[in-house]
């Protein structure tokens, strides 16, 4: 199940699903309570520079795909919002949760404080990721759409809701300088807004996203134990290192693996090593090809299959269950930065298991040259406003006030509360560092503003320099998506199905259930099932754009 979200294809899916969601028939405009889709011209919302945090960056970005790296927390937190966004009453939200939902409001001091700060009552429907699609479908079918709805760009149900008018068109409300009424909403750059447009209209409030998210970690203690090379110069040397590790059966009382899971981060990293490039990419003739049609992609699969064959993988790597131990007790652990240095992850791993050492690996291309990293979309984690609620302009203003409050930038007192809770209740200030003591569940409505900087936890300080070096190098070797701004209706309607079959086939080839020649047959079927149609639509969209 977890593989369904593998980013390698869905990243591209998100690019255009949202954009094409409105390309279908708009018979629903005004139907079912949906507001009419606006057609009036509008300007991209004006960018309002957010107030910077009271902390200097430890490393300043020098590439467009790199972001400043901060270590620790601001010395002080500024007040970013005056008054309360609501004047009593209630606001309902539909929010996907990544962790445990909170207890009832009566037993949750964070929720009570949030209500007080908002000046009303926030009534959140918490939805686990696995139930997002069916829960949203039943919510939309009920006709009672909450005021704020978390929109998963990869969910066809969410996109159907957008297409059919369940959510308000905010284009005119936020057009140009209008957005400055909500300074925190304005703290989004033009590319973030443009990336999140749905058929050319603003239907969601986006959150900025880091251009690059996954960075490979290496278990240096085990590399040392096997006498391996901690700086493999190419794919063969990396394979050799991992194969050496495969002979080690356990460390610190737990089974050791070369690679713990076959998941998004691993696929991303190996594709980068083989310079696979974007999901849909322009070939030499100016037309689109999908990465699975390329020899580079085929070679990346062959590398993974070779690793599997050599016993590098955890035998249960396809089950989606992370093996016990720090980072799955794996030697090669491509991970999201938020799980390693963004929080206490890497520090905790070293603290809790004596003798382990982790470091970032500067990955080389398969032939010793550069890698090619595909950048993320500039936006993610979008929030939409119910079209029914937005019919009342005063009500819409209040709803946007709430989003403005929740978008408070990093460094503000509001963001500190939103992310960490109440001082004394959920955290304490120790040596100038906000130290969680009883972390609350904070996933009421997650939306962010400002530039998506890498704000490393203070405990991650020893790894900051290594992280910055690796991230900067990856940024230099990164490319934006070739399909940015282009649309494919077929991708919206059949993308999930095509992606599921691709993931299944990847699993089969890597684990040895299918051969590479089977994969060639699969590619033809995949193209017949909708891939060709998507290619045509992209080509046409590109020609139309000129």
């Amino acid at each position: 199940m977890t593989q369904l979200s593998r980013r390698t294809f869905l990243g591209g899916l998100g690019t255009t699903l949202g954009a094409v969601a409105l390309a279908g028939p708009l018979t629903a405009c005004g139907g079912g309570g949906g507001a009419s889709r606006g057609t009036a011209a509008f300007d991209i919302p004006t960018f309002g520079e957010p107030r910077p945090p009271a902390l200097d960056p430890a490393f300043t970005a020098s590439h467009e795909a790199m972001r400043d790296v901060y270590v620790g927390q601001p010395a002080e937190y500024f007040r970013g919002y005056d008054g309360t966004p609501l004047s009593g009453g209630e606001i309902s939200t539909f929010q996907l949760t990544w962790g445990n939902p909170p207890s009832d409001v009566s037993g949750d001091p964070y929720w009570q404080e949030l209500n007080r700060r908002l000046g009303g009552t926030i009534d959140t429907t918490f939805v686990p990721a696995a139930q997002y699609g069916d829960k949203l479908a039943t919510t939309l079918a009920s006709g009672s759409v909450p005021d704020l709805v978390f929109v998963d760009d990869n969910s066809p149900v969410a996109l159907q809701g957008i297409r059919d008018g369940a959510f308000a068109d905010l284009s005119e409300t936020l057009s140009g300088d209008n957005v400055l009424e909500w300074p925190h909403l304005a703290a989004r750059r033009e590319d973030v807004w443009r990336s999140s447009l749905r058929d050319g209209r603003i239907v969601t409030i986006p959150s900025p996203v880091h251009p690059l998210s996954f960075f490979p970690l290496l278990r240096l203690d085990i590399v040392e134990q096997v006498g391996g090379n901690a700086e493999p110069a190419d794919a063969d040397e990396l394979f050799e290192l991992l194969a050496q590790v495969a002979a080690v059966r356990d460390a610190h009382g737990l089974p050791v693996h070369g690679i713990a899971l076959y998941d998004d981060p691993l696929q991303t990293v190996v594709e980068a090593m083989y310079r696979v490039g974007c999901d849909w990419q322009l070939d030499g003739s100016g037309g689109f090809v999908h990465k699975i049609e390329t020899e580079a992609y085929r070679e990346s699969l062959a590398f993974l299959a070779r690793c599997w064959e050599a016993g590098v993988f955890n035998p249960d790597a396809l089950s989606g269950t992370v093996p016990e131990g720090p980072f799955g007790n794996a030697v090669f652990a491509p991970s999201a930065w938020s799980n390693s240095v963004g929080g206490p992850g890497i520090h905790t791993a070293e603290r809790d298991t004596e003798g382990i050492r982790l470091g970032f690996l500067e990955l080389r291309g398969f032939d010793g040259g550069d890698c090619v990293w595909e950048r993320n979309l500039p936006h993610g984690r979008s929030i939409a406003v119910s079209s029914r609620a937005a019919e009342d302009t005063d009500r819409l203003r209040e709803i946007l006030n709430v989003l403005d409050y929740l978008s408070a930038p990093w460094g503000s007192e509001e963001r500190l509360f939103i992310d960490s809770g109440i001082e004394g209740e959920h955290w304490e200030m120790r040596d100038g560092v906000v130290t969680p003591t009883n972390p609350p569940s904070t996933q009421y409505t997650w939306v962010a503003s400002g530039d998506a900087v890498y704000n490393l936890a203070a405990l991650s300080e020893p790894w900051a320099e290594g992280f910055h070096a690796v991230a900067s190098r990856q940024a230099e070797q990164s490319v934006p998506k070739d399909t940015l701004g282009l649309t494919s209706e077929t991708l919206a309607s059949r993308g999930v199905q095509l992606n599921a079959s691709l993931l299944d086939q990847q699993n089969a080839v890597v684990s040895g259930r299918a051969s590479l020649s089977d994969f060639d047959d699969f590619v033809r079927t995949w193209l017949d099932q909708g891939g060709e149609q998507i290619r045509r639509e992209y080509d046409e969209a590109r020609e139309a754009r000129g």
């Binding site: 079912g32 699609g133 949203l136 159907q160 089974p255 955890n314 999930v496 599921a500």
Partner: protein, 328 residues
């Protein structure tokens, strides 16, 4: 409407020969309404069950119209456009449907052959135990897995039979080659059937125990007096007594032949692959809930329902032709 005569059953604990002669109740020519009025108290007990089925089974059946629409949850049935048989055409053109159908039928067949008779065999085995205490303990133990969710059952299998599982680790410690039963498509059907038997064999014995308990003990005593050994008593008394309920269960099982463990298969599909683990129910899930193709999904469900109905009616007829009573 039945035209057979109905007789009052014998009192519990008495054989039919000993029962007092009760006057037969004449139902021929009596209208349903008259019978409802006459036996209104008895019919009242039907009301909650009937209401449940009407509200939660028959009314939702109307939702099958989605199979003929380009359905969108927000637009609902009123505003979603009609598309005729497009969804059925898309369904039949889907190459994954064939694999899903083959897997479903194969697993169903294996379940009928191996899992269906397992509770019967276990019930007979337990019935042969002389100690009631031992029988009750064994019954309790074999019922328990039924109450475990599939998530737990699959996790247990993973811990036991996975690549890092107990068995593989033991084999490696003994110098053997590692193996992973959870990712091997060649043995996946056997794994699925084994899991189903382990989880539900105990629960399935309940109905057979009830049927065995209904067999008058004097029949066994009479057979024993006539010199029948244990096997003969089982063959000539117990099994015929179980035949009606076995027929009923088999007909119901055949009606469910296109429905095999959704959660069980969904949880194991990523590891073993769709070629082996895609069944109709997971196909419907991936197309509908995950993929938003509600119409195609509903078309698959509707088609499945129609086929199941045909199978149940056919199985019922066959059962009657073979001398059984069928279920309707």
């Amino acid at each position: 409407m039945t035209t057979r005569q109905r007789t009052v059953p014998a009192a519990p604990g008495t054989s039919e020969e000993e029962a007092p002669a009760a006057p037969p109740v004449e139902v021929r020519g009596t209208s349903l309404w008259t019978r409802i009025k006459r036996e209104r108290v008895a019919y009242t007990f039907i009301v909650p069950g009937l209401a449940f089925f009407v509200l939660f089974v028959y009314v939702p059946l109307l939702g099958n119209v989605v199979a003929f629409m380009d359905f969108s949850p927000f637009l609902g049935l009123e505003d979603s456009p009609w598309v005729g048989f497009d969804n059925f055409r898309a369904l039949l053109d889907d190459p994954e449907l064939r694999d899903a159908l083959v897997n479903t039928l194969t697993i169903s067949l294996l379940l009928v052959v191996f899992a269906f008779p397992a509770p019967l065999a276990l019930a007979l085995l337990l019935n042969s135990l002389l100690s009631d205490r031992v029988k009750r303990i064994v019954q309790t133990v074999v019922y328990l897995p039924h109450f475990l969710s599939w998530v737990i059952v699959i996790s247990l299998c993973q811990q036991l039979l996975g690549g890092n599982g107990f068995v593989s680790t033991l084999v490696q410690d003994l110098g053997g080659e590692p193996f992973n039963a959870m990712t091997d498509p060649d043995t996946f059907y056997a794994l699925v059937v084994s899991q189903s038997i382990w989880k539900d064999v105990g629960w399935g014995t309940i109905i057979f125990f009830a049927a065995i308990a209904a067999v008058p003990r004097d029949r066994y005593e009479a057979a024993a007096v006539d010199g029948a050994n244990s096997w003969r008593r089982t063959w000539h008394i117990t099994l015929p007594a179980l035949l009606p309920v076995t027929t009923l269960l088999l007909i119901l099982q055949i009606g469910n032949v296109l429905t095999v463990g959704f959660e069980q298969l969904l949880l194991q599909q990523p590891a073993v692959g769709a070629d082996a683990a895609q069944v109709l129910d997971t196909f419907v899930y991936y197309r509908g809930v995950a993929g938003g193709q509600w119409g195609v999904s509903a078309a698959a469900g509707l088609l499945k329902g129609v086929i199941a109905t045909v199978l149940i009616v056919s199985a019922n007829r066959v059962a009657k032709r073979l001398g059984g009573s069928g279920i309707f």
